[in-house]
Amino acid sequence: MATQKTFEQSMKLLEQIVEQLESSELPLEKALKKFEEGIKLSKYCSEKLDEIEKKVTILLQDQDGNYIETPFMSEND
């Protein structure tokens, strides 16, 4: 998906939304939209973190359990 933003972009967006909501008196409907967007971004970022944390956990389990053959393969591919 082309619009799949990175975590950092999402965080930046979330920050902007927080600032917008904080600073300017947005019309209610717009504020709702922004809020909705913010919640979605927050969720998205949170999930992304979960995902990454899970990945980290798996990596660490692998470390203790399984054997990894070629550490540089991934880099060269």
């Binding site: 965080m11 939304i17 927080v18 904080e22 209610l28 913010g38 927050s42 949170s46 973190l49 980290v56």
Partner: protein
């Protein structure tokens, strides 16, 4: 023949060339006087004997390697070259090497070989190979007997228990040692399965270490593609091999330390990296989490606004209803008031007035008629009375009567006027008598009667 005239510079230049070409490098011996060592670290002194003296210098780069420090009055033998310093028109010997007077030819040969190989560049750092940080296999080229190999094995075990050590046994002194060392090094490179080699021997005299000062060994070391550490003799002993080797170790045991890491240290380093990696990534995740949480908390804004707006909207609603009901109430009051007014203005009063009027008119009508009737009645009554008084029949009461013909009602005043049988009526006071004439009435005067 024309006279050749030199300039000072030309002459000095020619002298410089002459001197420096004639004495490129020479051994010279004499006695040191006026020795000084300024901050630069170079040695300045005069070399003299009973008849002559020459200015001398030994630069820091060279004097570092000296195993002794020169002093005033010391007899020395040195290797140097003549150098002319043109600006001052002086010459001096620049020493490469110095040793106390009375050293043997072995030493001289050593120095000469060292000098040669050095000039060839065999000692250059550029050729020095780097040591592996974790050698899979270490080859030790040494004598399989003796303390050296045991020290090496023991230290290796201590540092890296599972180290792979291979020994290429060679003679390290005496006849044939040189050859064996050279072929050992060649064997090392032929097999080419080691990561590093240690060329080792215990301490000994210059003669004992002779094999390691040989040119063949030096060249074999230089030629090796596998890095070689030299570990020959004691800390103070230098051999040619030491200079050629990729690394010089002061002692054989120290060579192991140079080439083999302590396994637990490496393990610890890796573990530290590992820990740091986890710490860093989890730290980053955690800080992002906190950041998200903070931002998300800051997001819960609209509810407050909704509450506020609800208040506002409710207020409008209530005001609206209140005002409108007030308007409605006022309209009702206005309407009620008007209606009452209308009712008060109803035609009832008018009707009442008219009724009264009619009543009055009726009374007048009746009264007027009544009084008229009364007048008429009383008038009639008076006339009746008068009429009664004037009645001609009044005299009848005194006994008179009136006789009238019937039906003509002619009063009979003369009897002649009546005939027999004629019907007459006689009016008396009370009543009327009907009668018939019986005989012929007589004429006469009533007075006759």
């Amino acid at each position: 023949m024309q006279k050749k005239i030199y300039t000072v510079s030309q002459l000095t230049k020619d002298i410089k060339q002459l001197l420096e070409d004639s004495f490129p490098i020479i051994w010279i011996s004499g006695e040191i006087s006026n020795f000084s060592m300024p901050a630069s670290g170079h040695y300045y002194f005069t070399l003299k004997d009973s008849q002559a003296q020459i200015s001398s210098v030994m630069f820091r780069g060279q004097n570092q390697h000296l195993k002794f420090t020169p002093e005033h009055g010391m007899g020395v033998t040195g290797l140097g070259r003549i150098s002319v310093y043109e600006p001052r028109g002086t010459y001096q010997i620049i020493f490469e090497y110095l040793e106390p007077k009375g050293i043997g030819s072995l030493q001289i040969a050593f120095e000469q070989l060292k000098k040669r190989l050095s000039d060839e560049g065999l000692f250059d750092d550029a050729y020095k190979k780097t040591m592996p940080c974790l050698p899979g296999k270490i080859t030790v080229i040494t004598s399989p007997s003796g303390a050296v190999i045991h020290d090496i094995i023991n230290i290796s075990k201590r540092r890296f228990a599972n180290a792979h050590i291979e020994i290429i046994p060679v003679k390290v002194q005496g006849k044939g040692a040189e050859k064996e060392i050279v072929s050992g090094i060649k064997l090392l490179n032929t097999r080419a399965d080691s990561d590093v080699a240690i060329l080792a021997r215990g301490g000994g005299s210059l003669e004992d270490l002779q094999a390691f000062n040989s040119e063949d060994v030096a060249r074999a070391v230089f030629a090796s593609r596998i890095p070689i550490i030299s570990a020959i003799g004691h800390e103070t002993d230098y051999t040619i091999s030491d200079f050629v080797a990729d690394l010089r170790s002061p002692t054989p045991s120290a060579a192991v330390e140079l080439v083999l890491p302590v396994k637990t240290d490496v393990k610890q380093t890796i573990a530290e990296y590992y820990k740091k990696l986890i710490l860093l990534i989890t730290g980053q995740i955690e800080s992002h989490r906190i950041c998200i949480k903070n931002m998300t908390n800051q997001l819960t804004d609209p509810k407050k606004r909704i509450d506020h707006l609800r208040f506002k909207s409710d207020d409008f609603y209530q005001r609206l209803s209140r005002i409108f009901f007030k308007t409605l109430e006022q309209s009702r009051e206005r309407h009620m008031w008007r209606t009452n007014e209308l009712k008060l203005k109803n035609p009832g009063m008018q009707i009442k007035n008219y009724n009264n009027e009619i009543k009055r008119y009726n009374e007048i009508l009746v009264n007027s008629l009544k009084s008229l009737m009364y007048t008429k009645k009383s008038g009639l009554c008076v006339l009746n009375g008068k009429l009664n008084v004037l009645s001609p029949t009044a005299i009848l009461d005194r006994g008179y009567s009136i006789t009238r013909t019937v039906p003509d009602s002619i009063i009979v005043k003369d009897a002649k006027n009546v005939s027999s049988g004629q019907d007459l009526e006689i009016l008396v006071s009370k009543g009327l008598i009907n009668c018939q004439v019986k005989g012929n009435p007589q004429n006469g005067n009533p007075k006759d009667l």
